[in-house]
Symmetry: C2
Subunit: 401 residues, 2 copies
């Protein structure tokens, strides 16, 4: 019996570990592999043979792993470039050495590209019995051909809850004040849009709807006149029609050619105060907490992430199953239900799935009822978290052991 | 039978409404008053006779009110100045008009001063049958003569959980990086100190321990050398030995003569990047979410806030009970238990209870085990929240009805 390897890449989410827990549990119930290895820090660690053995994980650790946010196996930003044959050769040698037939790789766009590149390389080289399977995860929800991405529901829930709560906080005083909530979302507005689930967003600014400063200030003035308050939610990647980001700190990049953003809310705050449309303006920058805050886990999201791992494990019984990603398909009908389908990983890779134009209301008014109906099921339910000293119990990251 | 009035003042907390729910419930069980009125927006609304009738609140609304963050009756920053006899006279006239014998006022230092001033005024004027009772609430935990303040436990829990979660997120990459978490706390370090419950804080900077830039950078360098990471937690009110705040935005004030702060973390980030001790530095500014995030409510905190309201109602049966605040006293012994005592509100007012010097470890290393033992019971337990569409259900603020 051969072995399999699971690894994580890209930005973490609150439920990314549930997929790993699902793969481990599936193999305990239906042992396709002798060992389930965890590769530490994604491709980076795999190339350095940094493995842990997850095969016999206890039921308790499995449950706690599911509720532990942030890649417990560690992540990396190292990209397997298609022309770097040396890395590819080394990886195959390592798989042979450890008798690893299957690599499960959880990640976003870039990771699905890695899965595709490795499968294509193996095929081109006539290498058999080495398979690469993608498991999607990203709070950005911007992968193609999947109804949504595990991780998005929990982030959306945190964003909606925090928007609602900070709106309550904003309103306790009668004074004039603007609240600006900033979410992640470099290219797609899914995260910022989820704030609309709170029902209290006055102005929504996402990358898909070009920013117009005059229009923005006019709207803030309108809401301040109406009710002395205004709630703005903005994506870090919000931009002008010419593509310039509204945040000022767009100069750096993260090594993948992505701009590292942040500061959109503070830029808007400056505009509000300088123009005088409001005398007070507060900022709630959700920052990293939105992708790891596990007090607000969506049970739906956590369960789907776990089952997606189980599904990937099951599909891997097929020796021809490689270069594919397990995706979520929403069933037709009144009640929310998903099925787990598979698609070529290359179809999900390197394309950004934008927030649909037809779901965006004009004049930065937020999103349509259809959009809310899409998002609402994803934030439902709360897991019965295991606590330790009053805080949620988390597994110690495997890369720290 | 006369009536009573409850009102809220100062900054909100996640459990401030549980005290109101406790007063209302106590009066349903033991009707000392014909009506329990809620005064909207604190003294400001009371002086304008903006009341709601809370007497017959349903059990369901009572439960949801307990889990609703931020003053549901609204708050104010209006201070009843001791020399403003007109306001005092007006308030007494309004109490007479509505046959209000007792005012319950929830708030922090300033509110306890208001309770004291009103009681003293009534006594000096020979006015009988008008009583003023203080109920403490503040996330700052800086009131004297109470073991702790309702609201602190839930804020501490959110801060500790978010520190732990963002630390997990920080560590998934192998790269060098500093995380700086900023908490509220203008004058006292209780909130920042609670981050130490996470067990992952490397450097803690609170107002009680003067900030030294060279020492700080030396420490960051040490941790970066040791483990490529460093977690810093800083109070917004952290300051140099000469009293200058480390944040740059200390020029404004909130009308009470308090500086409005914020930006300490960004100032530290600048220091880290400019000095070159780390090439990457991220900020998590908890901002307003720390006083209204109700996904992390501490059941202990919520229960104590509710019972404190019930206790205040019970004490008000005594016609001589005025100018006093209900406080929490921790019982001696292994198991955590509190009793509800009463103290003169004036003793709690206008003094800041600092984080004890003997609980601060040298070299910004955090807090002692004794401090953790003090804080730990306050964050225990999670309420079984009532959900609505996947988000916690909240009452519609009374000032919006």
């Amino acid at each position: 019996m051969s072995n399999c390897l699971v690894a994580q890449s890209g930005g973490p989410t609150s439920v990314i570990n549930a997929t790993i827990a699902g793969i481990v549990k599936a193999n305990q119930l239906n042992p396709l592999y002798e060992h389930v290895y965890g590769g530490l820090n994604g491709v980076e660690g795999i190339l350095n043979e940094r493995f842990v053995d997850l095969t016999d994980m206890s039921e308790e650790e499995n449950r706690i792993l599911q509720q532990t946010p942030s890649s417990a196996l560690g992540s990396c930003r190292y990209k397997l470039k298609r022309d770097n044959v040396k890395d590819f050769e080394k990886l195959i040698r390592i798989m042979e050495k450890y008798d690893i037939s299957t690599v499960f790789y959880t990640g976003g766009n870039d990771s699905m590209d890695t899965v595709t590149a490795l499968s294509e390389y193996a095929e081109a080289q006539g290498i058999t019995g080495r398979r690469f399977i993608g498991c999607p995860k990203t709070i950005d929800n911007d992968l193609m051909h999947t109804d949504h991405c595990p991780g998005y529901g929990s982030a959306a829930k945190y964003i909606a809850a925090t928007t609602l709560q900070t709106w309550l906080d904003l309103n306790v005083y009668t004074r004039q004040e603007v609240l600006i909530v900033e979410t992640m979302g470099r290219d797609a507005g899914w995260l910022a849009a989820s704030a609309c689930l709170s029902g209290v967003v006055d102005i929504l600014i996402i990358p898909e709807a070009p920013f117009d400063k005059d229009e923005f200030l006019k709207l803030v003035r309108k809401f301040i006149r109406q009710k002395n308050k205004c709630v703005v939610v903005v994506s870090e990647g919000a931009r002008y029609a010419d593509g310039t980001y509204i945040s000022s700190s767009e100069t750096k990049n993260d090594g993948f050619g992505h701009a590292t953003l942040g500061g959109a809310a503070h830029t808007l705050k400056e505009m509000v105060l300088e123009s005088g449309v409001s005398s007070r303006c507060r900022v709630q920058d959700l920052s990293y907490a939105q992708r790891c805050h596990a007090g607000d886990l969506s049970l739906t999201d956590m369960t789907e992430s776990f089952r997606l791992g189980m599904s990937a494990h099951m599909h891997s019984a097929d020796p021809a199953f490689t270069g594919r990603m397990v995706a979520l398909k929403r069933r037709e009908g009144e009640a929310y239900e998903v099925e787990y389908i598979t698609i070529p990983a290359g179809e999900a890779a390197n394309y950004v799935r934008n927030f649909p134009a037809e779901w965006i209301l004009p004049d930065y008014q937020g999103v349509t009822e259809e959009a809310l109906a899409y998002m609402r099921p994803l934030i439902q339910g709360k897991p019965d978290l295991i606590l330790e000293n009053g805080l949620p119990a988390y597994v110690k990251p495997y890369y720290m052991r």
